[in-house]
């Protein structure tokens, strides 16, 4: 195996594109190194992206926030403006692993690892986050939900790497939240995860919403029916029930030791209701 630590994105892309055999971009390495040790991958080349200028920064721009692909999740929790604008995204990122893992893991890595149970991804999908992808043919910007295509698989082409994740500037009266179910109190993989982001009109009615579910399908699901169920409402009991029903109906979960199909479907609805409640409160409090 070769290890490279390029200083520019162009060099990183060239290295990844030109290597014969298997080449992996590494941000925090908290998934990649575990996969390497488990013998699941045998890279010929690992390209460490942490020395690339700008990739370790969170930038606040006129359009919102740009989170570099090498920003450790712990740094998102320390970014006050980001936390104020997107508390649900930051909470989701903060749920990944222990303090030790937080110092290394990144949301770009969480996304590209393409686990259906990734904690930050439902929150990012609910937030309508975008992903800047750099590759041999230049840059492109895609929706976050278009990156994972199945467990462990992404839509990125050879030589392409995620450069940054973009979050829009928040309109007035907006809030987001992410909740997950785990059987323990900490340090576990989501059995179900639910992210909700919404914006209210001046009368406190939900003007727009996005609802995303994790760990209930091969990829994180954007559930448009669930969003439709609450748009135009003040999140009354009937709207919440419709939201839960739409979420449960959208699930296509597996049965495994961590949760049965029935359990995951039901919990998806319950978590979506609770996350919507938190997002609604946050939107109203602004």
């Amino acid at each position: 195996m070769l290890y490279a630590r390029p200083g520019t994105l162009e060099e990183a892309v060239r290295l990844l594109a030109d290597t014969r055999g298997s080449a992996f971009a590494m941000a925090g390495g908290s998934d990649l190194l575990v996969r390497m040790k488990g013998g699941n991958v045998e890279p010929d080349l690992v390209v460490d992206i942490k020395a690339i200028a700008g990739l370790g920064e969170i930038k606040q721009t006129g359009d919102g926030f740009l989170i570099g692909a090498a920003v450790p999740c712990v740094a998102m929790g320390e970014a006050a403006a980001l936390k104020t604008a997107w508390p649900g995204v930051v909470e989701a990122a903060s749920l990944i692993g222990s303090r030790q893992i937080q110092g290394r893991c990144t949301i770009a890595g969480n996304l590209c690892n393409a686990s259906p149970a990734a904690d930050s991804v439902p929150a990012l999908v609910a937030a309508a986050a975008k992903v800047v992808v750099a590759g041999p043919k230049g840059r492109r910007t895609i929706a976050v939900e278009d990156v994972p295509v199945g467990p462990g698989k992404t839509s990125l082409a050879r030589g392409e790497i995620v450069e940054a994740i973009l979050l829009d500037k928040r309109p007035q009266r907006s809030g987001d939240a992410y909740l997950r179910f785990i059987p323990r109190s900490e340090m576990d993989i989501a059995v179900v995860g639910a992210g909700v982001s919404l914006t209210l009109d001046a009368n406190g009615r939900i003007e727009s919403a996005r609802v995303a579910l994790g760990a209930v399908a091969p990829t994180v699901l954007l559930v448009t029916e669930a969003a439709k169920a609450i748009v135009g409402t003040k999140l009354d009991a009937a709207a919440l029930e419709a939201l839960a029903g739409a979420c449960s109906a959208a699930c296509r979960p597996i049965d495994d030791k961590r949760g049965t199909v029935e359990f995951r479907k039901q919990v998806a609805g319950v978590l979506a209701k609770r996350a919507a409640g938190i997002a609604y409160e946050r939107a109203g409090a602004k």
């Binding site: 195996m1 070769l2 290890y3 630590r5 925090g28 390495g29 908290s30 190194l33 575990v34 390497m36 040790k37 488990g38 690992v46 460490d48 942490k50 450790p72 712990v74 692993g97 222990s98 303090r99 030790q100 893992i101 110092g103 290394r104 900490e186 340090m187």
Partner: protein
Amino acid sequence: MSGIAVSTTINGDAVEFLCQAEETLLDVLRDRLGLTGAKEGCGTGDCGACSVIVDGRLVCACLVLGAEAEGSSIETIEGMADGDKLHPLQEKFLEHAALQCGVCTPGFLMAAKDLLTRNPDPTEEEIRFGLAGNLCRCTGYDKIVRAVQDAARVMKGA
């Protein structure tokens, strides 16, 4: 022997080493530099026995490549005491018998040190969540939590 040349600072001392690309920082610390305080428990970032602080961030040394340490500043358990004078956390772990077999202890001490640096006055809940990345199969955690609480009191100068 060929390898990647890495220059780093460990516990305040300039250290240079050669390592292979696959080698983790934990392998380098233990097998090349003789710093065997950090332990390999799981090797997958679950147990925290290899906790060290790299550039101010608590990490599992088993999930860092040795080559990544280039230019970084690393704190390990070997740098915790000031000569013969133990760190308050070390004192309190002894006093409260917050260890039995001791394999997890260096990791707990580094994680507790990092926790108290960021939060000098943590609640019991904050301590338990803050140390959730460190597993102990002997103590049941209670004595560890008491030791960290007591150390926090001492370090605040109470």
